[in-house]
């Protein structure tokens, strides 16, 4: 860049052009499917079924969304998903951050053992059947706790926290220590306010994970009232059931409606994707930083 005096060679130009074209193609391939969902969901169902819908909605309508929001199953599921995302994320961020702070201290007795214990959890998984048996044994199947308890601590998040804490200058902490502040006090007064980027990163990861998790509702929950959005979506994926529910949904509104199963399904997808898509560009610069710190640590 700085050595422009050499001018741009033909090789230079070729590189720029090829890389740019590839990037544009990649951008289109990654984003287009979601764009397609969006235009389909705002388009009249019968019209969209004729095909040829590529770039913009042709016959704009809100009918699909009206049907989605008239469905009684959606609201409780939405509420459940929000509830578990908030509670789960707050607990994870706060408790993992605290545990990581303890683990970042060399003076912690047994630190090596703890770190090894944690690291092994990254590589071992006993599978969903064993989890099921355990949850059954401790009586958290089919309850809200199954969404929260098993996932409070993730060792990967703890590693991210530790990497960040290590980069905080020691001087502040030391002076507080000399003034007689304990570790808890230091954590709340000094460490937490200085670690906002990593707290935001882990909150995003954890929040998105909770919002998207289809595993727990699929295998550990049977009670309809406890279903989350991905759980409802998953059920509507199995075609027979989808046909039933969606037909019930469509016929309940108007007989003359031109919405189709497809268009309603796209609307449902958009509804469940929207919160994530809205939030993530804003926290992007935080998680990039957090991820990179983690990468450097590795």
């Amino acid at each position: 860049m700085k050595l422009k005096i050499f001018g741009r060679s033909r090789e230079d130009k070729a590189f720029n052009i090829i890389a740019s074209i590839l990037c544009i193609l990649i951008f289109i391939v990654t984003v287009y499917p979601i764009w397609y969902c969006l235009i389909y969901s705002f388009n009249d169902g019968a019209d969209a079924a004729k095909g040829g819908l590529y770039f913009f909605a042709r016959k704009f309508t809100l009918e699909n969304y009206k049907i989605v929001f008239k469905n009684d199953a959606i609201y409780p599921a939405f509420f459940m998903t929000i509830l578990r995302s908030i509670i789960g994320t707050v607990l994870t961020v706060f408790l993992s951050g605290l545990a990581a702070y303890g683990l970042s201290k060399d003076s912690l007795i047994g630190r090596k053992v703890y770190m090894t214990l944690g690291a092994i959890t990254l590589y071992f998984s006993a599978g969903v059947v064993q989890q099921y048996l355990l949850y059954r044994e401790i009586n958290i199947l089919d309850s809200f706790s199954v969404y929260i308890l098993p996932n409070i601590y993730q060792f990967y998040y703890i590693i991210l926290f530790i990497a960040f804490y290590k980069a905080i200058p020691q001087a502040l902490e030391e002076s507080a220590q000399i003034d007689g502040a304990g570790y808890f006090k230091i954590f709340f007064r000094i460490i937490m306010p200085m670690s906002k980027p990593i707290f935001a990163t882990v909150a995003l990861f954890s929040g998105v994970w909770h919002w998207n998790d289809w595993f727990s509702p699929a295998f550990f929950i049977q009670n309809e009232k406890m279903m989350t959005l991905p759980g409802v979506l998953m059920r509507s994926m199995s075609l027979a059931e989808a046909q039933q529910t969606l037909q019930k949904m469509t016929s309940a509104v108007t007989q003359a409606s031109t919405t189709t199963m497809e268009s309603v399904r796209y609307a449902m997808l958009i509804v469940s994707v929207l919160p994530v898509v809205i939030i993530y560009p804003f926290v992007q610069k935080f998680f990039l930083k957090g991820m990179m710190l983690g990468a450097v640590k590795e």
């Binding site: 230079d12 951008f27 059947v129 098993p150 570790y183 992007q284 990179m292």
Partner: protein, 311 residues
């Protein structure tokens, strides 16, 4: 040096506080990660759900014998290995290429939108990803529409009903969903390369291609090596993205079963639907042992190549 001394002074006073921070995490790990692993011992016992957690009869290798004589086990194992090998190759290399493309683009805005766009799919639930591609790959879906428009096929292709496509669909979805996200680490490694190297090479007359081959690629070699080892542990669940189960469960159907039925799905079916818990534990035990073996082997290979290890 100074830091150490301060800690020593306060060690006794603060130790209980530190332990109080860490111990809850360790207890959770023990309960939710270690107890299920220990539960795999049921593979050698006659576990029945009515008897509680302990005190089951020892049956030796009975369930392993049953497992090995079940043709579904071999089918699901074959699919897991085949699909994972394909995925491993493509989902491991795609982010590397993506990072290099993004890095070589001269326009900042283009870099930015490509990067931002490419993580987007990472944040979608697998249910959504699966639904999305299920509708796209439908005989009436947009992919068939485009293929027919371009006269590439006559009749619509039944992508999800034909076994021969399933592995490639799996690979494609993985690359689409996770390449951008996995490229972040490579981009970070590239950003960390000393710029003087490039300038010196440029003065010596090295063009873009030579700089890419001789500076960028060797500099991110170690990062790629670490990721390689880390991913080997999840090889049988589908490589870097570990999506075999998700795809098999959400996109598998009776038609594509010959290629979509993977070991994790088989274990779950036997365990949760047929309630054959000991049988499932035997399957899981084999799977875990193989994964750990792969991880350790990969680490050894890394040592041969780079002279250092991850663990």
């Amino acid at each position: 040096m100074k830091r150490k001394r301060v800690h020593k002074l306060h060690m006794d006073k603060g130790q209980w506080q530190l332990q109080a921070m860490v111990l809850p995490a360790m207890i959770c790990f023990l309960i939710f990660s270690y107890v299920p692993v220990m539960g795999l011992i049921n593979a050698f016992l006659d576990y029945s759900i009515t008897d509680g957690f302990f005190g089951h009869e020892f049956v030796g290798l009975k369930y392993f014998k049953e497992l090995f004589s079940d043709e579904n086990f071999w089918l699901s194992m074959k699919n897991a290995v085949g699909m994972s090998a394909l995925k491993f190759f493509f989902t491991f290399t795609a982010p590397l290429f993506l990072a290099i493309f993004i890095n070589e683009v001269p326009y900042k805005w283009l870099k930015k939108i490509t990067q931002t766009g490419s993580y987007l799919p990472h944040f979608l639930s697998y249910v959504i990803v699966a639904t999305l591609w299920m509708v796209f790959l439908d005989p009436n879906g947009i992919i068939n529409e485009v293929l027919q428009m371009l006269n590439l096929t006559g009749a619509p292709v039944e992508f999800l009903a034909e076994p021969k496509y399933f592995w490639w669909i799996g690979v494609g979805i993985d690359c689409w969903q996770e390449s951008g996200w996995n490229a972040i680490i490579y981009l970070a490694a590239i950003a960390g390369i000393n710029q003087d190297l490039y300038e010196a090479a440029e003065v010596d007359g090295a063009g873009r291609w030579k700089r890419l081959i001789h500076i960028t690629l060797p500099s991110i070699g170690w990062t790629a090596g670490v990721l390689f080892v880390m991913n080997c542990g999840s090889l049988l669940s589908g490589g870097p993205v570990a999506s075999n189960f998700n795809q098999s469960y959400l996109l598998g159907n009776a038609f594509n079963r010959p290629t979509s039925y993977v070991i994790q799905k088989y274990i779950t079916d036997e365990g949760l639907n047929q309630m054959r818990f000991s049988f499932a534990a035997a399957g899981n035990l084999i799977l875990s042992t193989l994964s750990v073996g792969l991880l350790l082997t990969a680490n050894k290979i890394l040592k041969k190549v780079f002279g250092r290890t991850v663990f």
